[in-house]
């Protein structure tokens, strides 16, 4: 019962603390300020959560923009029950008929402007080549290297999405959460790192090394390894996930993990950027963690273990440097919460944060 109550509390927090999601009917002027990014006439987040309530099946708690059946298929990381990720690569492809079916006021029938499978009679993009290639053809001069443009270059970026000091009821800490990539628009090496430091020690850290491959206009699949470190025992996992941009500009990062001794885990993170002005940006953020098996050494219980709902307000001094302030609610659920209580620790905590978002 406590589990349920906690879950309900978590959902309630989500609904109240994440403004972009808490909006209900598009027709309500009260929520006008949220319409910038989420001008739907239905309340997708609420619907998704309502669906999730009866069976406590949080696989539907994905993203507002992914609340259609096709979209929730795109979140393999949330497929908690089975952990059957054998078909990872094919699943996200079902996101392909994206976006267009819901076009209100645009009665275009079967119009399909984004993604989708190529029809059988689609044109051959090499149909005009006459058999020539960039390297083989008339007038090529031996010894002349062929033209290479930036599509064949590799680029790199480091984004530190959160570098912040947190102030909770009992303790303060410093958190980092970033991502770096190296590669092309379609294939890249990705490093994700998140951790928190308190009392001069790294408390817990998650570091992932992934290969990312583009599978749809706005989506990459990622596979690799995850390593957890900190004060407790270290854990290593195989990682599979998707990262991308859901309709209405929700940034989604979802992954499933398989560890030693039959351990499994899943993680969902979503962010939304609401431009108050060109430089002042309000950013709701959620994070949900799930573990298939208890790991008492790390005070993790099986099931939905923890969640974070946060709201940050940043000012982009420029695109690459933006200080922010914010608040977030960190909650432990279920068996994890029980373990915490047995330990005398908090199961819910509000953190005030101040930090900076940097990329280069």
């Amino acid at each position: 019962m406590t589990i349920r109550l906690n879950r309900l509390a978590f959902l309630a927090v989500m609904l109240s603390a994440a403004p972009a999601w808490s909006q209900t009917q598009g027709g309500s002027p009260d929520h006008a300020q949220h319409q910038q990014g989420v001008p739907t006439s239905t309340p997708p987040a609420k619907k998704a959560m309502d669906n999730s309530m009866p069976g406590m099946d949080h696989s539907n708690m994905t993203m507002p923009g992914t609340s259609t059946p096709a979209k929730s298929d795109s979140m393999p990381g949330m497929d908690h029950g089975s952990m059957n990720h054998g078909n990872m690569d094919s699943k996200p492809k079902s996101t392909q008929p994206e976006a267009m079916p819901g076009m209100a006021g645009m009665d275009h029938g079967d119009m399909n402007a984004q993604g989708g499978p190529a029809p059988a009679d689609a044109r051959d993009p090499h149909g005009y080549s006459g058999g020539y290639t960039l390297d083989k053809g008339p007038y090529t001069t031996p010894g002349t290297p062929r033209l290479r443009l930036a599509d064949e270059h590799k680029f790199a970026t480091v984004l530190i999405d959160r570098l912040e000091r947190g102030y909770g009821r009992n303790n303060n800490d410093t958190v980092y959460d970033g991502q770096a990539w190296f590669g092309t628009a379609y294939d890249r090496l990705v490093i994700k790192a998140e951790g928190d430091v308190a009392r001069g020690k790294l408390q817990e850290a998650r570091t992932e090394l992934l290969w990312g491959h583009a599978i749809a206009t706005f989506w990459d699949v990622q596979a690799g390894v995850r390593h957890d470190s900190g004060t407790g025992p270290e854990r290593t996992w195989l990682a599979f996930g998707v990262q991308g941009l859901a309709p209405y500009w929700f940034e989604v990062d979802a992954a499933a993990y398989i560890g030693e001794n039959g351990r499994t885990a899943a993680r969902l993170e979503a962010e939304y950027e609401m431009l108050l002005t060109q430089k002042l940006i309000l950013q709701p953020r959620i994070e949900i963690n799930y573990y298939g098996k208890s790991d008492p050494a790390l005070e993790i219980g099986s099931g939905l273990s923890s969640g974070v709902v946060g709201l940050r307000l940043r000012y982009e001094i420029n695109r690459q440097f933006a200080p922010y302030i914010g608040v977030e609610r960190v909650s432990k659920f279920g068996n994890t919460a029980n373990l915490a209580r047995a330990d005398g620790a908090l199961t819910n905590e509000t953190r005030w944060v101040a930090g900076v978002r940097i990329w280069f």
Binding site: Q35, A99, A104, P125, G130, L149, M274
Partner: protein
């Protein structure tokens, strides 16, 4: 906003105005070290650099790094003969010209003669026409000039064009100019960034809206809601947000990094062209920018357009014209007052290039305010289907000067209201029955590679009308030039009709910042093969929401109306969002040729094809 370093800490935000307008005397600093005392301060009083003119049949050009200062920050530019723009080359039709180009850079370079018909080995595209000009080497270009008019030249290597390697070419016709003018000025419009172009490109790869500070906000939502009602404001945003596309993505690079130049002079530097009242003045406008569409007008003067891309057109008088990177227009004006502002605002309305036509140096005229940026319309997003949503911007599609085609044809039962769409040729009996190639096809045939991550949308029913001045110019109260207004005098070069049709789609994914033909960037593409001597119709179908100035090297592009009538001969054709255009090419130039979007970043991102004529 100005960002010049990759690490932005502690970079102050100087007043934006300064960057729109630039330094009063910025430019290339001959003989001065970039890092010494601010040389521009010593030059105060100069109205910007004067561009040298070289004439004859033998030319020596030297490519080297040069100190430059357009914004107050000393930078290193890439210049030809120490000048930005490069010297204006004046040739005569029929002459054989010899140009020795010496590369004093530490990297390979090249010069491409834009719009000039010549043997492919002389075309100057490294990796296609030759190996490029290595550091320290001199390459000799030699070819016969077989045309006349206004053209230009620029580097075709990396981003050198963006850092200063561009200049004008003026070719006098055999027997002298037939267009009578009392004097003329060459006006090269370009753009400049203090940042390293590759760094700028890399930023766009990470965040493609990096330089867009006209994005929809909560504030703009409130404004729309209070003006048009809540539901209208929601509807206006719904589809854009659903599709994850930006309605204000009008230029990848805005004035937040760009300074807009006229003859190498910043707006506050005020390039000045002199005249005597009552004279007929010919202005040779060249868009030598890397990434900017300019909307050009001279308040108080009518512009009579007499040439497009160096080719004479039936004179047409307008108030304003838009042109993209690579295009040229010659206009004739007859000024009578003392001073007029030559005003060229960027398509995204973040800045402008500006100069003055005046009876003497030092005069200025009123500089207009920037127009308000507009959102892309549904027609820009969806072409001919865009008229159905009642969304903003559609009023602009009702233009007076439509093609004269029958507009109410049988559009498969779709009623598009008053839109000027030219799909109606199916309904014109007798035209298509005899020769299926008499008119360009209208059915979109997407390539199978357009269904993956490299594209962010496809347009099924493109618009084919040529009479849309484009976003930001529709119904602005001024007479704006459109492709529909341009008629090459004397008809097409080749009277033959199309023998076959080649359809290619312009594609991209703004989120990933990829640009391509048919969803395939250059590196994955194969050449387009044209048989020597054939007359081929090329259809460009724009599946993106940006306008692309498409430049085919080595051969003319003879644009046609949707009904197949010849319209205008160009070397660079702007293709608007969700537009489908067609042109005929006579494949009379053996060799390997480049074909690309002339927005430099789009080209380098992969919107580039090789064309083989054999």
């Amino acid at each position: 906003m100005k960002r010049q370093s990759s690490f932005p800490l502690a970079v102050p935000n100087p007043p934006r105005r300064r960057f729109v307008q630039g330094l009063a005397t910025g430019g290339v600093l001959l003989g001065l070290s970039a890092w010494s005392a601010p040389g521009w301060a010593q030059n105060s009083g100069l109205a910007g650099p004067k561009v040298p003119v070289l004439r004859g049949t033998e030319f020596d050009l030297t490519i080297s790094e040069m100190p430059a200062n357009f914004t107050g920050n000393p930078r290193i530019a890439t210049a030809i003969n120490g000048s930005i723009p490069a010297p204006t080359l004046r040739w005569r039709e029929g002459d054989e010209v010899t140009i020795r180009v010496t590369n004093k850079l530490s990297v390979a370079s090249s010069i491409h003669w834009h719009g000039i018909i010549l043997p492919f080995q002389m075309d100057g595209v490294p990796g296609l026409s030759f190996a490029g000009i290595q550091p320290g080497e001199t390459f000799t270009y030699r070819f016969k000039v077989e045309q006349s008019g206004t053209y230009w030249y620029h580097s075709h290597s990396a981003f050198q064009e963006m850092t200063g390697m561009y200049g004008a070419i003026v070719v006098e016709p055999t027997g002298g100019e037939t267009l009578r003018a009392d004097r003329e000025h060459v006006i090269v419009l370009s753009d400049w960034t203090d940042e390293d172009p590759m760094r700028v490109f890399s930023k766009l790869k990470t965040q493609s809206d990096y330089y867009n500070y006209n994005q929809p906000t909560v504030m703009s939502f409130f404004q729309d809601a209070s003006r048009d009602g809540f539901k209208a404001a929601v509807d206006k945003r719904k589809m854009w947000n659903q599709m994850r596309m930006s309605p204000t993505d009008l230029a990848d690079l805005s004035a937040s990094t760009m300074t807009f130049l006229m003859n190498g002079t910043t707006p506050s530097g005020n390039w000045t062209g002199l005249f005597r009242p009552g004279e007929k003045v010919r202005l040779r406008f060249i868009n030598g920018s890397s990434n900017t569409f300019y909307d050009v007008r001279i308040p108080g003067l009518k512009l009579t357009v007499v040439q497009a891309d160096g080719v004479n057109v039936e004179p047409v008088t307008v108030d304003e014209f838009r042109f993209g990177a690579g295009e040229t227009y010659d206009v004739v004006v007859t000024p009578t007052d003392d001073a007029y502002t030559v005003y060229a605002q960027s398509m995204d309305r973040t800045g402008y290039a500006r100069g003055t036509l005046a009876v003497r140096e030092g005069l200025t005229a009123t500089v207009p305010a920037l127009d308000k940026p507009e959102w892309l319309s549904m027609a820009d997003m969806m072409g001919a289907m865009g008229g159905m949503g009642g969304m903003s911007g559609m009023a602009g599609m009702n233009h007076g000067g439509s093609s004269g085609m029958n507009q109410q044809g049988s559009m498969q039962g779709m009623n598009h209201g008053g839109m000027a769409m030219d799909h109606s040729q199916h309904a014109m009996p007798g035209m298509t029955a005899s020769n299926p190639l008499a008119t360009p096809s209208t059915r979109a045939r997407h390539a199978r590679t357009e269904y993956g991550p490299s594209t962010d949308q496809r347009v099924d029913m493109a618009r084919t009308n040529l009479d849309d001045p484009g976003i930001g110019l529709r119904n602005n109260g001024r007479r704006v030039l459109t492709l529909n207004d341009l008629h090459t005098t004397g008809g097409p070069l080749d009277p033959r009709g199309a023998e076959r049709e080649v359809e290619l789609h312009l594609t991209g994914n703004m989120e990933r910042y990829t640009w391509s033909f048919d969803g395939l960037e250059f590196g994955q593409s194969t050449p387009v093969h044209l048989r020597f001597g054939e007359r081929v119709r090329i259809i460009l179908h724009n599946d993106t929401m940006m306008t692309h100035p498409m430049h085919l090297h080595g051969m003319w592009s003879e644009l046609e109306q949707p009904d197949g009538r010849f319209q205008v001969r160009r070397h660079t054709i702007p293709v608007q969002p969700a537009q489908r255009i067609s042109f005929l090419v006579t494949a009379d130039a053996m060799g390997r040729w480049a074909w690309h979007c002339h927005l430099l970043f789009h080209m380098d991102a992969g919107m580039f094809r090789e064309v083989v004529v054999s």
